[in-house]
């Protein structure tokens, strides 16, 4: 504890030293010389949904790190849960808060296997639909110090998540015969394809792979694939490739380095997300985000609540911390985002402090403190 306290003060000193250093060109007079004082950091509000399972513990870890680095973000916390409906905040309140703040950090919501009320939509789906969070982005990247079968994986999986198999349209027309509708629309397919290509353009990626099963579902997946092909014509500098989902999963486990950006319909995306996450270290280390036109919800990439570990202080907070780093980058605080990301990478590289899922014995709390100890204030704010 005393170690921690010492580091808090170190960070504070660093912060005060660097706050004044900022100018457009080094030759120009700095702020102090022009006699204009810098305003205090104005704060950003962010909606927070801790989620089920270990969610609250991971979120606590994020809050600890934010506090230690004095990051100007305020959280507006909502308890939101499907398995605990009496305590859960109403969907409307949560949706309203997210659309007001435009950013949200979210843990994973548990979804029961069987519906007891006849409701086909899960709470997750309802939230996505009400905010139109159509694009799920999972950035799967090998982390230093996490030994796995494959090295140097760096791919981004972009998944349409408002239609397809998740349309929640199922019925039993005749006793014993259930039909489940998979909806594919041109509009949403084009939208997700454009999102993928724009993402690739923005992040200097070279290739977009459309994952489909159009050889079997000729109309549904065919429409998705065609939309991607059409959109690809608008991006002559980005290579476009198509791959059938079964082949894709095989390639993923044998040669994952070949993938760059992947764009997928709903269910395939879910499967590929989890497969790829498994390749780099599991649900505890992969960050993701869901985008609508107006807001973003940052959540771990592979959606597992890890409910068997609740209260045991063993869950890996890396995924959640990486999410928060992405969040900071999104709200124009990239220096803080980089700071957190670098600290995490440093801790993992040192390899002294590891949680159980990546072969260590340390607790969530110990890992969090290790990250805090490795926070380095950026030299220029």
């Amino acid at each position: 504890m005393s170690l921690l306290a010492r580091n808090f003060s170190k960070i504070l000193v660093q912060a005060t030293q660097t706050a004044g250093v900022r100018s457009l060109h080094s030759s120009l007079p700095s702020l102090n010389e022009t006699g204009i004082s810098e305003r205090p950091d104005t704060r950003i509000t962010c909606t927070l949904i801790p989620g089920d399972g270990v969610g609250p513990e991971l979120v606590y870890s994020v809050q600890e790190v934010f506090k230690a680095a004095s990051i100007p973000v305020d959280f507006e916390s909502y308890f939101f849960s499907e398995v605990n409906p009496t305590l859960s905040a109403p969907l409307d309140d949560v949706a309203k808060s997210i659309s007001k703040n435009r950013v949200c950090l979210k843990g994973i919501l548990a979804t029961p296997d069987y519906s007891h009320t006849g409701e086909l939509q899960t709470l997750n789906m309802k939230l996505r639909n009400s905010l139109d969070l159509y694009a799920n982005v999972v950035h799967v990247k090998s982390l230093p110090g996490v030994k796995r079968r494959h090295e140097d994986i760096d791919c981004v999986i972009i998944r349409e998540q408002t239609e397809g198999e998740y349309s929640a349209l199922e019925h039993e027309s005749v006793k014993g015969v259930v039909e489940c509708l998979k909806i594919v629309t041109a509009k949403k397919s084009q939208r997700i394809a454009k999102f993928a290509f724009d993402y690739a353009t923005k992040n200097n990626r070279k290739k977009v792979t459309a994952v489909h099963k159009a050889n079997i579902m000729k109309l549904g997946d065919g429409l998705f694939l065609r939309s991607c092909e059409e959109m690809a014509k608008l991006y002559p500098k980005i290579e476009f490739e198509r791959m059938i989902v079964d082949n894709c999963t095989m390639q993923m486990v044998s040669k994952p380095q070949q993938f760059d950006v992947m764009v997928t319909p709903n269910l395939y995306g879910n499967i590929v997300d989890n497969l790829a996450s498994g390749l780099v270290g599991g649900a505890g280390v992969v960050a993701g985000a869901s985008y609508s036109a107006n807001c973003v919800v940052f959540e771990p990439g592979a959606r597992h609540t890890y409910s068997e570990a609740v209260g045991k202080n063993v869950a890996n907070p890396t995924a959640m911390l990486l999410c928060s780093a992405k969040l900071l980058r999104h709200v124009n605080l990239p220096q803080y985002g980089d700071m957190i990301r670098n600290a995490i990478e440093q801790v993992l590289k040192d390899g002294k402090i590891r949680t159980k899922d990546i072969g260590g014995q340390n607790s969530t709390q110990e890992f969090t403190y290790a990250v805090i100890n490795n926070l380095k204030m950026p030299s220029r704010v």
Binding site: Q190, F195, E230, N294, N332
Partner: protein, 384 residues
């Protein structure tokens, strides 16, 4: 010849298009057929509240001004990501720039130099406007108090037809020594511009629209333009409409500019009048222009000069490009950021009087930008 064929069978072309239409998706119709353009816009590049915007730095001082825009946006926290496409030199890829604008929907652009007088070289500025069908150009000329200028308190909106007229680029030498240059005026385009102008006037609480023309000489072409705007004016009884001949207009502008409110005109007149007004209120470095089509918008400095002579000397006035960026933020709906930057610009110019040499000051470009950033940092709002 072609026109005669069309006249004989006026519906054949339409049929051809219709036949193709049945086998094409809306996407292809929008991007492949020249005749029925843009039935459906492709989705706007806005994700999680952040916009992707194409940035075309252009030539001359363009690249350095764009650097200032990025810097100011960083400190203002504007949620915009730029995709920089270089179109400065002759052999750069104009098609790619156009595709990029098509997918992002919005662009901020420096000026591209049109040096060549050879007939084979098409001005790339004009090519961009025509290809994207940016049929209207708006220049809001508003005096900055505190800037030395010939006329004070000017507030004129110049709305210019941007795609046809004298810029139709149809010239030929039918007989040796006789060159004909065509000025094309179409009713549909004149109607669009007039409607745009009146809508603009209505939305922004303007009182009067003046049509500038030379219909006493060009009785058919300018006549059509004038007639169309008169007809459109009838749909807007609350807005006063009058017209003025271009030569008289130029004289009135330099002697009594306050009589003008919103002005609409054809292409070449627009080019001349906007430069006259810019000169009246402080030169090329202050004003920004907006180009709108049905689906795309491009923002650029108001007078289209590249300023090659002063490139790299750190004396170019950054205000024009910065106000273009403010216009862009307004267009994208980031009103808070736009206001933040606009106020910082006004404070810098009007109160601190930090002026570059073109306004009679001695400050460098970076001094101006630095002061604007200081003002932004001082403001107590921070909309991310």
């Amino acid at each position: 010849m072609a026109s005669r064929v069309l006249l004989k069978k006026p519906f054949d072309l339409g049929k051809l298009v219709l036949r193709n239409q049945s086998t094409m998706s809306a996407f292809e119709i929008q991007h492949k057929t020249p005749l029925i353009k843009k039935v459906e816009a492709i989705p706007v590049a806005m994700y999680g509240g952040r916009h992707h915007v194409t940035m075309l730095p252009g030539g001359g001082i363009g690249p350095e001004l764009m650097g200032y825009v990025k810097e100011v946006f960083k400190y203002a926290g504007a949620p915009v990501d730029f995709e920089v496409v270089d179109i400065g030199d002759e052999n750069s890829d104009l098609d790619y720039a156009l595709t990029s604008i098509k997918r992002n929907g919005v662009a901020i652009k420096g000026n591209i130099e049109t040096k060549s007088e050879s007939a084979s070289v098409v001005s790339r500025n004009v090519a961009i406007r025509n290809e994207l069908d940016l049929y209207v150009n708006i220049l809001h000329c508003k005096s900055y108090p505190g800037v030395p200028a010939r006329q004070k308190d000017i507030d004129i909106v110049i709305i210019r037809q941007n795609t046809e007229g004298e810029y139709a680029m149809l010239e030929h030498e039918s007989v040796d020594g006789v060159v004909e240059s065509m000025k094309v005026v179409t009713e549909s385009n004149s109607d669009r511009v007039a409607r745009f102008a009146f809508e603009y006037a209505k939305k922004n609480g303007r009182k009067r629209v003046t049509t500038i023309h030379k219909a006493n000489i060009m009785k058919l072409s300018d006549g059509l333009f004038l007639e169309t705007s008169r007809r459109v004016a009838k749909d807007y009884p609350e807005i006063e409409h009058n017209d003025m001949i271009i030569d008289n207009c130029c004289m009135q502008l330099v002697s009594k500019p306050h009589q003008f409110d919103v002005m609409i005109m054809t292409n070449l007149y627009g080019s001349i009048v906007s430069n006259v007004v810019c000169g009246l209120i402080g030169g090329a470095g202050l004003l920004s222009g907006k180009n709108y089509g049905d689906h795309y918008a491009i923002f650029e400095p108001g007078t289209r000069n590249t300023g090659t002579a002063i490139a790299g000397k750190n004396i170019a006035n950054p205000i024009a490009m910065l106000s273009a960026s403010v216009d862009m933020l307004n267009h994208l709906g980031h009103v808070q950021h736009a206001e933040l930057i606009q106020r910082a610009i006004e404070k810098t110019i009007c109160e601190d009087k930090i002026h570059t040499p073109d306004l009679g000051g001695s400050a460098r470009s970076t001094d101006v930008v630095q002061r604007i950033i200081d003002h932004i940092l001082q403001a107590d709002i921070r909309p991310w």
